[in-house]
C-alpha cells in the first residue's frame, strides 16, 4: 500500500459519467449525487440519455450520460464542461471527450476497447494508443471488466452477470478520490437488493473493490475534498425536478383542502411525475392513466368539476392534443393544473432532449380567446414552489393554469430545503353550499372567480357547458353583447392575476447597459453569467420571470431602465416576442435550440460581445 495521498481542497468539481444505456450510468450518477448531497455540497445534475431504451451495446447513439457538479459554493447549473470524465467504452469516449476541460481527468475502462468495441464507435484506431489523450488530459486507463470479475469471484456469477456491477466499481473509485463514505450507497444497495443476496453481495464487493483499487495508489495520487456549501440552514433532500413538481402538487392540494386527481398519459420527459404521484396513494392521490392525452385532461376536468383538484401532465405533443379541452376548462371556469415538461421538437422531435419552445403554444395555442395563466419554474427545486403556486392560482381564480417545466429541470436534481409546514400558506377552498341567491356564474369581486359547487350538494343543481354562457346565470346565451362581456370578463380575470405579483426583482443594479431577461430553466446559466460579468465590472443585471403569463405589469418599466435587453431562450425567441408585443421594448433574442441547456459561458460571451 502506497503512502497516504495528499488531500487537496477544491471549490467544486464537475464529473460526467458516460457509458452504454445498459451500463447503469444514471444510477451511478444518482448515487454519487446523493452522497455529495449528504456531504453538504450544493449540487446540480444533468442526466442525458438517448431515446432508445437499450440500444445495441457499444453504439454511439446508445451512449447515456450523467453530469453532476458539486460545490462548496452556491451554484445554479450542472456546469458547462466536466473536470472528470468517466468513459465506460469507446462510444462514450468519442461522444463526450470533446466536452472535457483541457487537463481534466479522463478515466476510461480499457477493458472495453477491443477491436469490435472500437469499430462500433467508428474508431479506426484505438484512441488510447493513437491519439494525444495522454497529452491533453490526465488519462487513467483501468480495465474495469477484469477488476470486477476478480472482485466478485467466488460468488458463482457468470462473467456477464459479474460485469453488471462494473459501474459500482467505478463509483467506489470516485468515492475514494473525492473522499466520500460508502455508506449511503451501501444502504441503498441493501434496500434495493435485500432479497437478491447474490446480486447484493456482488454490488457491494464491486463498490468496495473500486475504493480499494483507488486507494492502493497505482492509478491515483491525489485525493480531493469539496467542503460543504453554506446553504441556508434547514433540512435538505436531494430532489429531481419532476419529483419536486409531484410533491408540490400534493402539497398544493393539501393546502387547498383538496384531494388530487392526476389524469395522464405517459410521455417522455413527463412520465416521472405520474410515477411519483402513483406512489402517493396514502396522501389520497388518485392517478388515472388514461387512453390518451385528451382523456387525461378531460377526466381531470371532470374530477375538478366533481370537487377534486384535477391535474394533468404531459410534454409538447401531448399539450397540442389537450388544447381543445383547455378551452372547455376556460369557458366552464374550473380549476385545473396542466403540466408541460417541454422537450425537443417539432412533432416527435428529440423526445429525451430539453427545449423551451412550447411557450407560445401555452399562452396562445387554443381556438378563439381562451386566456389562462402560465407559470415556469426556474430550477429543479423551484418546480416544487411553482407547482404550489399553480394550484393556488387555479383554485383562487377558478382557471386552468399551465406549468411550463422542461426536460432539463424535470430530470435534473439539486438540494431542496424542506420547508416547514407554516412556510406554505394555506389557501383553503370554500365550496358553495348555500342555495339562497346562488348563481353559477356570479363573480367574486376581487378575483372575478365564479363559485365552485360540488355536485351532490342539495339545492344547487345547475348545468354548465361549453356554449357561451350568460353572465351570472351561466345559461346558454347567444347575445352579441353578452358574448363580448364574457370574453372581456374571462380576460380581466386572468390578466388580474398579475395584480397579485410581487414587484419584479432585479439581480444587480436596477439600471445599466444591459439586462439579461430570462424565464424558466435558463435561470442558472444566466445567473452565473451575469454574476461573472458583474465581477468583471460590466453594467449588466438579470431579470427572471416566473409568471410568464400574464406578464408582470412593472416589467416594461423595469426593462426600460436598461439600454439593452437580451433574452436567452432555448427556442427561436418566443419570450422576446411576448415582451416586445406587450411593452414595445426592443428585446433581442439569444437563441439556442440544440436540445441542450445554455452554458453559462455562452451567455457570458454574449454579454461581453454586446458590452465589449
Amino acid at each position: 500500500m502506497s503512502p497516504v495521498p495528499a488531500l487537496e481542497t477544491l471549490d467544486e468539481v464537475v464529473i460526467r459519467f458516460a457509458g452504454d444505456s445498459g451500463d447503469g450510468m444514471q444510477l451511478t450518477g444518482n448515487q454519487f449525487t446523493n452522497s455529495s448531497a449528504l456531504a453538504g455540497n450544493d449540487l446540480a445534475t444533468f442526466p442525458d440519455y438517448p431515446a432508445e431504451i437499450r440500444a445495441p451495446v457499444g453504439t454511439l447513439f446508445g451512449v447515456s450520460g450523467f453530469q453532476v457538479r458539486f460545490s462548496s459554493r452556491d451554484i445554479h447549473t450542472p456546469g458547462d464542461r466536466p473536470d472528470v470524465l468517466v468513459a465506460m467504452n469507446p462510444a462514450a469516449l468519442k461522444t463526450n471527450v470533446k466536452d472535457l476541460k483541457p487537463g481534466g481527468m479522463l478515466i476510461v475502462n480499457s477493458g472495453n476497447f477491443g477491436a469490435k468495441d472500437l469499430e462500433k464507435a467508428g474508431y479506426e484506431r484505438n484512441p488510447l494508443e493513437e491519439e494525444n489523450l495522454e497529452h491533453d488530459f490526465q488519462l487513467v486507463e483501468i480495465d474495469l471488466n477484469e477488476a470486477v470479475i476478480q472482485a466478485v469471484a467466488g460468488l458463482g456469477l457468470s462473467n456477464k452477470d459479474a460485469l453488471r456491477s462494473k459501474n459500482l466499481l467505478a463509483l467506489g473509485m470516485l468515492y475514494w478520490i473525492y473522499n466520500r463514505p460508502l455508506d449511503s450507497t451501501e444502504a441503498w444497495l441493501n434496500k434495493k437488493f435485500g432479497n437478491k443476496e447474490q446480486i447484493l453481495e456482488a454490488n457491494l464487493r464491486a463498490l468496495r473493490a473500486g475504493h480499494k483499487i483507488a486507494e492502493n495508489g497505482e492509478f491515483f495520487q491525489v485525493r480531493y475534498e469539496v467542503k460543504p456549501a453554506q446553504l441556508p440552514p434547514g433540512r435538505y433532500r436531494n430532489l429531481m425536478g419532476n419529483a419536486a413538481t409531484a410533491m408540490g402538487l400534493v402539497v398544493g392540494a393539501k393546502r387547498a383542502g383538496l384531494k388530487l386527481f392526476y389524469g395522464s398519459y405517459p410521455i417522455t420527459p413527463a412520465t416521472d411525475i405520474l410515477h411519483n404521484l402513483a406512489r402517493f396513494k396514502n396522501h389520497g392521490v388518485i392517478t388515472f392513466q388514461a387512453e390518451d392525452e385528451i382523456a387525461s385532461i378531460t377526466s381531470a376536468i371532470g374530477a375538478s368539476y366533481a370537487g377534486r383538484l384535477g391535474v394533468t401532465g404531459t410534454s409538447g405533443p401531448g399539450l397540442a392534443l389537450k388544447t381543445e379541452a383547455l378551452g372547455m376548462a376556460v369557458i366552464t371556469e374550473l380549476p385545473l393544473v396542466v403540466i408541460d415538461v417541454q422537450r425537443g421538437g417539432p412533432s416527435t422531435g428529440l423526445p429525451t432532449k430539453t427545449e423551451q419552445a412550447d411557450l407560445l403554444q401555452a399562452v396562445f395555442g387554443r381556438n378563439s380567446e381562451a386566456p389562462l395563466p402560465v407559470i415556469a419554474p426556474c430550477s429543479s427545486s423551484d418546480c416544487f414552489w411553482s407547482a404550489v403556486e399553480a394550484v393556488r392560482i387555479a383554485v383562487t381564480y377558478m382557471t386552468p393554469v399551465i406549468l411550463l417545466s422542461d426536460g432539463y429541470l424535470g430530470n435534473g436534481a439539486e438540494p431542496f430545503r424542506i420547508p416547514s409546514v407554516d412556510e406554505i400558506e394555506p389557501f383553503e377552498v370554500q365550496f358553495r353550499t348555500e342555495a339562497e341567491g346562488f348563481l353559477p356564474y356570479a363573480r367574486n369581486p376581487d378575483t372575478l372567480a365564479r363559485p365552485w359547487v360540488k355536485p351532490g350538494t342539495p339545492g344547487l343543481e345547475h348545468r354548465i357547458g361549453t356554449l357561451e354562457k350568460s353572465d351570472g346565470s351561466g345559461n346558454v346565451d347567444y347575445d352579441p353583447d353578452n358574448h363580448e362581456k364574457m370574453v372581456k370578463l374571462r380576460e380581466a380575470k386572468v390578466m388580474g392575476i398579475a395584480a397579485g405579483y410581487k414587484p419584479t426583482e432585479v439581480f444587480g443594479d436596477p439600471e445599466g447597459d444591459l439586462v439579461v431577461l430570462g424565464w424558466g430553466s435558463t435561470f442558472g446559466a444566466i445567473r452565473s453569467a451575469v454574476d461573472s460579468a458583474r465581477q468583471k465590472g460590466l453594467k449588466v443585471s438579470q431579470v427572471h420571470v416566473r409568471n410568464v403569463w400574464p406578464l408582470p405589469r412593472d416589467l416594461g418599466e423595469v426593462l426600460g431602465k436598461f439600454r439593452q435587453v437580451l433574452v436567452p431562450e432555448m427556442n427561436r425567441g418566443q419570450f422576446a416576442r411576448l415582451v416586445r408585443s406587450e411593452f414595445l421594448v426592443d428585446a433581442r433574442s439569444m437563441s439556442k435550440v440544440q436540445g441542450k441547456p445554455f452554458f453559462s459561458s455562452e451567455v457570458l460571451e454574449r454579454i461581453e460581445e454586446i458590452l465589449g
Binding site: A37, G302, A306, G456, E461, T466
Partner: protein, 334 residues
C-alpha cells in the same frame, strides 16, 4: 319501489326551466320524457345525479334535466364522466350523446370506459345521422346513404354498436327505441341497477335529416314482428301474441314456436350468444333484438381505485404534509 327514506319525486322535479330547443317531433323529446319519469322512480336523491353530454342535438339533453349537468365538448363525455365518477363514486353519472359523438369522434373513450367497467351509464341516441351539423352520414348510417357529405351515396360499412360494445367488454349492453317509452324505462331501470358500466343504444328518429330511419322495425304495424325483446331469464319470444320464439342451432338461429324458444341468458361467461343474436339483420327474416344483450359482473374500476387508496393508506399510514416533505434521504444544514 321507494323505501321509507328514499325521496319521492315526480317527473316534473326533473324538468329544468330551460326552454327546449329541439325540432318539433324530434325523438329526443320522448327519451327526455322517459328519463325524467325513470329518474323520479329510482329512489336516488336528485342532487346525486350528474348528466354529462358531448356536443350534438342529443347532447342538449343536459340542459333540460333539473340535475347537475355538464355539456362538454364533442366526443369526450365518457372521459369527462370517468373523471367525475372516479373523483366521487357517490354520484350517479349518466352520459347522453349521439351516434356521432359516441361512436365517431368519441369511439375511443367509449370502448375504454367499457373495458374499464367504470360505473357510468351511457345512453347513445342513435339517429344514424349527424343532426346538429345538418345531416351528414354517421358511423351507424347504412351504406349507400345520400347526405350532404355523400351526395352519391355513402360507402362506409357501419358499426354494429351492440357488437362493438360486446367486443370492448361492456358489462351491460342493451337497446331500446325512443318512442317505446315503457320499454325504455324498463331498460333505464336495469341500467341503473346494474353495478358497473351500462351501455344503452336508443334508436331515435331525427325528423329533419333522417326521418323514419327505423320505421321498418319500429312502426306500430311491424314492431311486433320485427322486434324481439331480450328479457333476462325469459324465453326468447316475439310476435303480437308472443306466439313465436327463437332457438339457437349450432350454426344459426331459427324461428320456432314460443314453447320451443330458448331462455335468454345475458350473463354467460363468453357472451357468444349475445354476439350471435346482435348480428340479426334489419332486413332479414329474424326479428331485430331489443332489450338486454349482456349483463355480467366484473370489478368496478372506480370502486377499486378507492379501495386501493384505502388499502395503501392503511398499510403505510395516512400521509401528512410533514411525512410527504420529509420522505427520502435528508440532511441538516446549520
Amino acid at each position: 319501489m321507494t323505501t321509507a327514506q328514499a325521496p319521492v319525486y315526480k317527473k316534473k322535479d326533473f324538468e329544468s326551466d330551460q326552454e327546449n330547443r329541439w325540432c318539433p317531433g324530434c325523438g329526443d323529446y320522448a327519451i327526455l320524457n322517459a328519463v325524467q319519469q325513470s329518474f323520479a322512480q329510482l329512489g336516488v336523491p336528485k342532487e346525486k345525479f350528474v348528466i354529462v353530454s358531448g356536443i350534438g342535438c342529443s347532447s342538449r339533453f343536459t340542459y333540460y334535466m333539473d340535475t347537475y349537468g355538464f355539456h362538454t365538448i364533442h366526443g369526450r363525455p365518457t372521459a369527462v364522466a370517468s373523471g367525475i365518477k372516479i373523483a366521487n363514486p357517490e354520484l350517479q353519472v349518466w352520459v347522453v350523446c349521439g351516434d356521432g359523438d359516441g361512436f365517431s369522434i368519441g369511439g375511443n373513450h367509449m370502448i375504454h370506459s367499457m373495458r374499464r367497467n367504470i360505473d357510468i351509464k351511457v345512453l347513445v341516441f342513435n339517429n344514424r345521422i349527424y343532426g346538429l351539423t345538418k345531416g351528414q352520414y354517421s358511423p351507424t348510417s347504412e351504406q349507400g346513404k345520400r347526405t350532404g357529405s355523400t351526395p352519391y351515396g355513402s360507402l362506409d360499412h357501419p358499426f354494429n354498436p351492440i357488437a362493438l360494445a360486446l367486443g370492448a367488454g361492456s358489462t351491460f349492453v342493451a337497446r331500446t327505441v325512443d318512442t317505446q317509452i315503457p320499454h325504455t324505462r324498463k331498460i333505464l331501470q336495469a341500467a341503473h341497477e346494474h353495478e358497473g358500466f351500462a351501455f344503452v343504444e336508443i334508436l331515435q328518429n331525427c325528423v329533419i335529416f333522417n326521418n323514419k330511419a327505423f320505421e321498418h322495425i319500429t312502426s306500430k304495424g311491424v314492431r311486433d314482428e320485427r322486434q324481439i325483446d331480450l328479457r333476462p331469464g325469459q324465453p326468447m319470444v316475439f310476435g303480437a301474441g308472443l306466439e313465436r320464439g327463437l332457438r339457437f342451432t349450432p350454426d344459426a338461429i331459427e324461428i320456432v314456436g314460443a314453447s320451443e324458444a330458448d331462455l335468454w341468458d345475458p350473463t354467460g361467461a363468453s357472451g357468444a350468444r349475445a354476439y350471435r343474436v346482435c348480428q340479426n339483420s334489419e332486413h332479414d327474416e329474424l326479428p331485430v333484438p331489443m332489450g338486454i344483450f349482456r349483463q355480467v359482473q366484473r370489478p368496478i374500476l372506480d370502486r377499486q381505485i378507492h379501495a386501493q387508496v384505502e388499502d395503501v393508506s392503511e398499510r403505510l399510514g395516512p400521509g401528512t404534509l410533514e411525512s410527504l416533505l420529509n420522505s427520502g434521504d435528508t440532511w441538516e444544514v446549520r
